[in-house]
Subunit: 329 residues, 2 copies
DNA sequence: TATTAGCACTGAAAGATTATAAGTGCTAAG
DNA sequence: CTTAGCACTTATAATCTTTCAGTGCTAATA
């Protein structure tokens, strides 16, 4: 691709991102300093190469998925953030009462507001995240609250009814065994340890051990695959984009966002900021997902922005990179 | 309103609920056993009275807000549930591992699925709900997890950074004082007791008591006005209704659903099932909110269904009543 | 050889026109 | 009081026309 074609692609992508209208040759004579005929020639070359598309035979050009990709990989320059926005994000990190994961969520909510895209924070239990404590708090003689605290500070709580034939005291006793035995175990390994190390031990001391065991199994399973660890910011922003003007399309995307299985797949392990445009976003041909992972103080997870393919890539990438740098300080 | 007019209104409302088409006079000759001209006369009487509307001069009739209200208050009969649906809901309650609040949420999710409307469960801290326990669990020397357990089994957890100049041990000490002093205090009164009874006491033993106090204040404030107590089921269902075919309209409604202040206003204290049609729904002129309160084992809250004014009122009311009866057993 | 002016052509979008169908209200007769 | 009959209304859909923003191609030009 020659230099002029690059400039042309850049201008087309940026103009289309800006106002969602197909770009015609005349609109670019100023920028390219050549006639519209020349631009048309280059445009049709770029179309040949697969970087541009027409909405109909005589319309202006629109970037194709490939076009966006090329733009993102080879043309786009990081956009410097405006001071106000940077300040907003920094202020949150300088608030000392705020714990990292809350700060991240607040920042992503702000980024959603700034950009009008939807943001997602996907927490992850690292393999270094271990069981710190299990508390059983009796509420009445039928119900206890099980509290699980992980070494990274995450807490899961679950109310459980104790089986008819079991005494609260026995449940507490089991929890003490678990505490002695399993503290320090990586969260992922807890269920299996529970089965092979704890179950036999409680079988000895409690008659109805099956039901007690399955009660704890229940609690820990929830912990291991907990869905509570997802945060959404600006979910409604999706509805503000002109490409999502059909309720049906929005419905499809929203349904995917409600489906934990789909959202979980966004998870990233890549240090860098990655961009999934169109079909590869797995949401819709007109959707882009920008994501990166973060890691700090034992906290670990994914930051993602989801919006139209016609996205302000430079801004989003810069914002995510900036937030990431703040997190890792 | 004479008998025939009642029947007419019933048929029009039900037909419109069923397929969202304005109802013409001819379509009803079968049901009313009189000529279309007679029906037209009655229709125009009902329109005069404000129960029907036309979408344009020569269209069929559509129920007005008043029409729905009259239908709901004076005509509608509770619909008997089909066995399969009843069974689904009952099964959830017969699952013994499931705690009441979780069962309620699952049921409302199912009701959303059955009806294609959106469901909301709004928990409420009753005045009988008291502080059961405060745990401080040190994560590292800068961070602790504060766990608050209420007498109804609800748990709130918050990670907090301890102020620079304060030692973890002091924080734990304060938590012990709070535990001794405040257990059994209704949640709503905790913040003020904290200020007037606890603050003076910790001032004596800790130098930097201001920052420790504000830390706890922070934690308890969150507990008192916690937003985590809202559950949504079938949020996307809104998008399936033909009256919500404009993205803009959907956007407005969705924005309100995201706004805790608005959602909180749904809260009901009424034993019965109440229906708020159109403007009085506070969401949109085409939205209806059906809601009722529940109370059982110290759990208390509101069940609400939100959908189009063109709602299957009989079914929704029956479902809510059935669920309520299950809860209160 | 690369650029550009010129021009015929294309298709979407918007407006005008018409036909159709589903409904109404009103009148007059049963 | 009910109903048949009919003129009238309006949305909806289909067809046609115009306009306009764009194209691609050709031939002339630097």
């Amino acid at each position: 691709m020659n230099e002029r074609q690059k400039i042309l692609l850049k201008e087309i992508v940026e103009s289309y991102i800006k106002d969602a209208h197909p770009v015609g040759s005349k609109a670019l004579v100023q920028k390219l300093k050549c006639s519209s005929a020349t631009i048309r020639n280059e445009m049709s070359a770029l179309e040949e190469m697969g970087y541009l598309e027409k909405t109909h035979t005589s319309s202006g050009r629109v970037p194709s998925e490939e076009g966006y990709k090329y733009y993102v990989d080879n043309i786009m320059k990081p956009k410097e953030l405006n001071g106000e926005e940077m300040l907003k994000l920094q202020t949150i990190f300088s608030n000392n009462n705020l714990v990292l994961s809350d700060a991240i969520r607040e920042c992503m909510a702000i980024i959603s507001e700034i950009t009008n895209y939807t943001s997602i924070v996907l927490g992850k239990d690292s393999e270094y995240n271990t069981l710190k404590q299990l508390n059983i708090i009796p509420i009445d003689d039928k119900k206890v609250v099980a509290l699980l605290v992980a070494s990274n500070g995450h807490v899961e709580n679950k109310q459980v009814l104790i089986p008819e034939d079991v005494d609260v005291k026995e449940v507490v006793k089991v929890s003490e065994i678990i505490n002695k035995q399993l503290i320090g175990t990586p969260i992922g390994e807890v269920p299996s340890k529970l089965e092979f190390e704890i179950k036999p031990r409680i079988a000895v001391i409690i008659k109805e051990y099956e039901s007690v065991y399955s009660m704890f199994q229940n609690v820990f399973n929830d912990f291991a695959e907990r869905n509570g660890n997802v945060f959404f910011g600006g979910r409604v922003n999706m509805l503000k984009q002109p490409e999502f003007d059909e309720v049906d399309k929005v419905k499809n995307i929203m349904e995917k966002l409600e489906d934990y299985e789909v959202v979980k797949r966004i998870e990233s392990n890549d240090e860098g900021v990655n961009i999934y445009i169109g079909e590869e976003s797995e949401f819709d041909k007109d959707v882009t997902v920008v994501k990166t992972s973060y890691k700090a103080n034992g906290e670990e997870g994914t930051l993602a922005i989801i919006g139209p393919t016609r996205m302000e890539y430079d801004k989003v990438v810069t914002l995510l990179e900036f937030l990431k740098s703040q997190i890792e300080r």
